[in-house]
């Protein structure tokens, strides 16, 4: 019993400490993001890494998700004679939910783990200490470009996921299942509002912040050599994915 209480206590202490350190890191990153000199080259490099290099994976995920959504919703809706609603079902699901969440999870797996590994390696090989020693603030130099890249690129990637998802849904709905293309497009335009798209983009912005911050936190405070770096990468994916799913539910509950 005592041992269980101790482990609960230790877990709570670690959790509060991590939350505190992450909050301080976020606040510092926010301040340094607006403190000159601003190194645009570092920011663009990270945007290329988070955004451009994730394009293939989000196009693949988005298109197959749109296609499978069209198949499944067709199967369900035809029972009510409402096959014409396949288009809006796919588009709304992609825009409000699946686009941002799947983009978040996929990019967390690809870019979040890589960020944590890179910063973790820099930590255990004293490269972060070297930055300090050279009077270069590592939060400004390492964390700010990554967090900005996450916040800026996740919405753009989500737009790509949404778009290819809708195209995938259209291809399956119209070409494979024989829904009239005019009805498919018309119904989609009738039902999908700008607000639906903005809701998804707002979510993706938050997911970008979560993914990059969690990855930077885990990498920045990594310890224990190669094993510690591996742990940082795993934690960044697990912690990032869980936080994306929880925050998604919370944001959805406010926007339904």
């Amino acid at each position: 019993m005592r041992r269980q209480l101790e482990s609960i206590g230790r877990f709570s202490e670690d959790f509060v400490s991590a939350a505190g350190q992450m909050t301080i890191m976020l606040a510092s990153a926010f301040v340094y993001a607006f403190t000159p000199p601003i190194k645009f080259r570092n920011i663009f490099k990270q945007m290329e890494f988070v955004g451009v290099q994730s394009l293939f994976v989000v196009i693949l995920t988005g298109s197959f998700t749109g296609m499978v959504l069209a198949l499944q919703s067709f199967n369900a809706l035809k029972r009510f004679g409402a096959e014409s609603l396949v288009g809006p079902t796919v588009a709304l699901s992609m825009a409000r939910e699946l686009g941002p969440v799947l983009t978040g999870l996929m990019v967390t797996g690809r870019a979040g783990s890589a960020m944590a590994t890179e910063l973790g390696t820099m930590r255990v090989t004293e490269q972060i200490d070297a930055l300090f020693a050279m009077a270069v603030n590592p939060i400004k130099y390492l964390v700010v470009p990554r967090v900005l890249a996450g916040v800026l690129m996740f919405p753009i990637l989500t737009i790509v996921t949404d778009f290819v998802g809708v195209i995938g849904g259209y291809a399956v709905g119209v070409k494979l299942l024989g829904i009239n293309p005019g009805v498919y497009i018309g119904r989609t335009i009738d039902f999908v509002q700008v607000d639906d798209i903005m809701t998804g983009l707002t979510k993706s912005l938050v997911f970008g912040l979560i993914t990059s911050l969690v990855a930077c936190y885990n990498g920045f405070y990594a310890k224990g050599g190669a094993e510690g770096v591996g742990r940082a990468a795993t934690s960044s994916v697990v912690m990032g994915s869980i936080m994306i799913l929880i925050s998604d539910y919370l944001m959805s509950s406010f926007t339904v």
Binding site: E118, T121, M122, T125, E126, Q127, D129, A130, F132, A133, M134, A135, V136, N137
Partner: protein, 248 residues
């Protein structure tokens, strides 16, 4: 130039620094020796502000470094250079970008001027035509040299060395010792080194201080230390397993 007063630092229950007092003279080479795990790296990290002490002070001239806020400490850090144990080169950058990094971050120099300074500093540490190499392509000794070139690229007043010969063969260690002496003589910089390499220490030190159980137990010139009868110092300098320092 630097005065360390009653510096104390613990990690959890473990007391690492337990009242360190030490004066470091301007333009001299001070070597801090001691067994592995005695807190030498911790001490050097306090000097450059990577760690904050629990108690005590470090004065650079009349300024207490331990009371500075991070932002103010950054200005002081520009007066320092540091060579890390594993050189801590940025592995995503070329040698030239590594050495030129502090200049790029803290000066308005053009790329060509930075390039000239980088080549000059690399030549000073005995490296030619390595600018475009990546750190992963360098041997341990070359990494230390590049690390030293980066540490002196801003012509700092003080350079800190964390175990500069660890992992090097005796010949390479001796060449690093020559390099330390040459660069220090040329630049008249204050050098602070931590090491447990005794032949290296004898070759370069103006002053030796021994850290043991969190305190400086003896200090003096090479000759004074060689003549010092303190059994702990003797055991360490002579590298004997038997003596007052317990191995296990």
């Amino acid at each position: 130039m630097i005065k360390i007063v009653n510096l104390r630092k613990s990690f959890g229950e473990k007391k690492v620094l337990d009242g360190v007092n030490l004066d470091i003279e301007r333009g001299k080479i001070t070597v801090i020796i001691g067994r592995s795990g005695e807190g030498k790296s911790v001490l050097i990290k306090h000097i450059i502000g990577l760690l904050k002490p629990d108690e005590g002070a470090i004065f650079l001239e009349d300024q207490d470094l331990t009371s500075l806020r991070d932002r103010d400490f950054n200005e002081v850090r520009k007066r320092f250079g540091m060579l890390f144990q594993g050189a801590a080169l940025f592995d995503s950058m070329t040698v030239a970008d590594n050495v030129g990094f502090p200049l790029k971050e803290h000066t308005d120099l053009h790329d060509e001027d930075i390039r000239k300074i980088v080549t000059e500093k690399l030549n000073r540490v005995g490296l030619v035509n390595v600018e475009e190499m990546m750190p992963s392509d360098l041997s341990g000794g070359m990494k230390k040299r590049v690390g030293l070139a980066r540490a002196i690229v801003m012509d700092p007043e003080i350079v800190l060395f964390d175990e500069p010969t660890t992992g090097l063969d005796p010949i390479m260690s001796d060449s690093i010792a020559d390099l330390v002496l040459d660069t220090q003589k040329a630049l008249k910089t204050t050098y602070i080194l931590i090491t447990h390499d005794i032949p290296f220490t004898y070759k370069i030190a103006d002053k030796i201080a021994m850290l043991h159980e969190g305190r400086i137990i003896e200090e003096g010139s090479v000759e004074e230390m060689k003549a010092n009868p303190n059994p702990i110092l003797r055991q360490f300098l002579e590298g004997r397993a038997e003596g007052p320092i317990k191995v296990f």
